[in-house]
Structure formats: structure tokens, C-alpha cells
Symmetry: C2
Subunit: 243 residues, 2 copies
């Protein structure tokens, strides 16, 4: 059994390496990659099916890497080991995990033992391990209470990219009015909407821009999510006939 580490921080990399050797005596080889690109390549060449990776790397972030790796070999087991539990990450992952795949998500702030336990659970016992903090996120995020629909999230990303109502309508096959409906819905859920009577700070905020701001502040969006979305957008734009 071989394990692949994808992590750009040398200190964390060597720490992981040690943890893996200690937790998995049956492991007979640890490979290391320091960014998403190298990681994808190594995973392909070495047919590694046990991966531990960071999200948030310079060259190519973890979610991108995971997506292509899982696309090529869906039964790969991946443990995400990250500093943060941004909703953007959690949502990004749940978007790309193949049906029935085994994966895990543990925070770097977790204890030594938790990490080792997670390694064994995922790679040996074939059991998913999600940090409770992340788990909480996930439930709040996907549950209806204060959670965002796929449609709402989608339109949030679209305005964050700077698309107009019309462009969004084209892209999502909707009428302009429907797009605006969804926007209103989004504004309400983000707590940005002023029900018309509040003299308090009426007219101070541009709802569209404000929605993006609070989404970022709440970590519903982050840099890597935006980058990913920008990539998708440019693909769509290229396929689009002018007008």
C-alpha cells in the first residue's frame, strides 16, 4: 500500500509523512507532491489510491486536483487535511465526491490521535471520517434551515463573477425575471434585503454587491471557489457564439 501526500508546506508535509508511517505500518511507501499539478501527475503515474491532501495550495488548489483525480479513478480514497472549514470548501467537495467514494476531512488543528485514527479509518476500514466542526457546517449548509439551495448558490457565484442578469439568464436557461426572483430570494437568505419600510440605512447598500461581500465574509465564497467558477465561466464564454 502506497500513500500520496499533496501539501505545499514542507513542515506539514514531513509531519504528515511521520504520522502516516506511524499510523499505517502496512504502508510501504510514501510519495510527496508540493502542489496540485504534481499531485495529479503522481497519482496518475503511480496509480496511488490513498491520498492525503491540503486544500488551498498555490499552483492548483486541492479541490481542482481532487476533481480530476476522482474523475480518472473514482475509487481513490482521499483525506482532506485543511486549516479551515469554510463553507465554500465543504460545498466544493460535496459537489465532486463520486457516489459511494470513501473520503475524509480533518482539520489541521485536530490532535495527533485524531489524524492517525482518521488515516486508519479511511484507508483500512473504508470508512468516511468528517471532522465534527466540518460536519456541523455541512448540515447547516445542506439542511433547509439557513442553508442554501443549489440554485441559490449557483446564482450567488454568478453575481460574484460579475455577470449581468441577462448573461445569467442565458447561461442558466432562464428568463431574466426568474434570475431576479432567485436573486431576491438570495438577498433575503443572506440577510441583505430591506423590507422597504426600514428608514434605518435605506439606500446605503447595493444589494448585488453587498450579497457578494457578506458571502465572502461568511466564507460562503472564498478565493479558490471564485477561481474555479472563473474557469468554468471562461469555458462557457468560449463556447458562446457572439450574441
Amino acid at each position: 500500500m502506497k500513500v500520496l501526500i499533496i501539501e505545499d508546506d514542507p513542515l506539514h508535509r514531513s509531519y504528515l509523512n511521520e504520522a502516516i508511517r506511524a499510523a499505517l505500518p502496512e504502508c510501504d511507501g510514501v510519495l510527496e507532491a508540493e502542489n496540485g499539478n504534481a499531485g495529479e501527475r503522481l497519482a496518475r503515474d503511480c496509480k496511488s489510491e490513498h491520498i492525503v491532501m491540503d486544500l488551498q495550495m498555490n499552483q492548483r488548489n486541492g479541490i481542482e486536483a481532487a476533481r480530476t483525480i476522482w474523475k480518472e479513478r473514482p475509487e481513490t480514497r482521499i483525506l482532506f487535511w485543511s486549516n479551515y472549514s469554510d463553507e465554500a470548501y465543504v460545498r466544493g467537495i460535496s459537489r465532486i465526491v463520486p457516489g459511494g467514494a470513501v473520503y475524509g476531512y480533518v482539520l489541521k488543528s485536530a490532535s495527533d490521535d485524531r489524524l492517525k485514527l482518521a488515516l486508519r479509518s479511511i484507508f483500512i476500514e473504508s470508512q468516511c471520517v468528517i471532522d465534527r466542526e466540518v460536519r456541523g457546517m455541512q448540515q447547516k449548509s445542506l439542511g433547509n434551515v439557513n442553508g442554501f439551495t443549489e440554485a441559490e448558490y449557483e446564482i450567488l457565484v454568478d453575481i460574484a463573477l460579475g455577470l449581468t442578469d441577462r448573461a445569467i439568464a442565458q447561461r442558466r436557461n432562464l428568463s431574466v425575471r426568474s434570475v431576479q426572483n432567485r436573486l431576491q430570494q438570495l438577498y433575503v437568505k443572506l440577510g441583505v434585503y430591506q423590507p422597504l419600510g426600514s428608514q434605518d440605512d435605506d439606500g446605503r447598500f447595493n444589494l448585488r454587491a453587498r450579497a457578494v461581500a457578506v458571502a465572502f465574509l461568511r466564507k460562503l465564497l472564498n478565493h479558490s471557489a471564485l477561481e474555479r467558477a472563473e474557469g468554468d465561466l471562461s469555458v462557457w464564454l468560449a463556447r458562446q457564439p457572439h450574441d
Copy 2:
């Protein structure tokens, strides 16, 4: 001489601790704090004038901490030790460094020796040390070529927060039209402006939202900058009479 470490990652903290003891034999005490708040408190209580800190921490980010520390004791020497050289960070720091203060900025990806050298330069020789990559950023950022004026950056932040033209005008003591002028200028510099003739993809983008998007993608803005700005904004809002 005592040195204070402010860094939320335990691995990096202990690595720093070792590096400091090795590089500075004249150092007779190393304190550690794991977030900005604790760091500020320790700096105040122990009158520590030699600090190494990370930017990007959970509780309270490095720039905030540095600002209050420098406000209380401007001659404090701070070495920023960070993963990234986002323009947002560089600009944020150059905004708050007191005149003539000694400070440094080295990336975590730098070699052992570079870090130790920087420690000696700053704490012993009273000499600023800025990583060359960061230096590059700084020049591009402050030089006129493709660099952003204080005014332009300010208005970028304002629209990123979701303020309307009118609110920005109030806040910055300008007419609405002037605000719009600055916005146009910003759009041009961000490469977002369409000179009216381009049938190419006219009307696809909402300039205001698009500007924010590309600013994020270029790391001209990041989460911590937005958080900081949001804080300032709420202070201003509280002082504002309704209407």
C-alpha cells in the same frame, strides 16, 4: 532581549521558536501567542519590542494586531512571516507601518538561512528586510505602472463592501459624480471597461461586480482585507446620523 511569536500553527510556532534561539543567542526568552488577540495582550504586558508574526490567523489577523501594537509602541520591530505575498497584505502593511519603523516580510517558503538572516538584520542591525518577491509586488503596486492609487484602492474596497455611489460619496466627502469618475478610472485599470464599440461580449458583465471579482482573483483583495474594511465601515455607520 525577548521575542514574541504570534502564529496559530503549532508546527510553525515551534519551528520559529527553534530558529529564533539558533539565530539570536542574545535572546533570553521566547513568548508565544496563538492568535492576534493574545498577541496584542502579551505585547502590551511584556513590553516586548521584538515580534515575529503570521498574517492570516483565525481569531484576529496579523495586520489588525500589528496596527494596534504599533499604535501603542511605534518602535516595536515586527517580522511578518507569511505564506503569501497577496497585494492586499502588502498594501495593508504599508498602510500601517509607522514612519521610520523597522520591520520585515519574509515568506514561509524561504530557506532556513534567509529566515535567520532576516531575524538578525531586523532585531540586531535595525534593518528592514523585505522578501524579493514581496518587494516586487510592492513596487508594481505603488509604482504608477499598473499600480493603484490610494483613492482607487479606497473606492475598490467601498464597492467590494457593497456600498452605493451615494453612500460612498457621503463617506468620502465627494459628490456622487466624482465617485463615479473614480469608478470609471478603476474599471479601466482593472481591464474591465469596454470602450463602447466592442460587440464582443458587450453587456455580459456588471462592471461594478466584475471589478470586485477580478480584484479578488488578482489578490488585490482578500478575506482579511475585506474583514478589516467591514470593521471600519461599521464604525463609520454607527457614527452616522440616520440619513
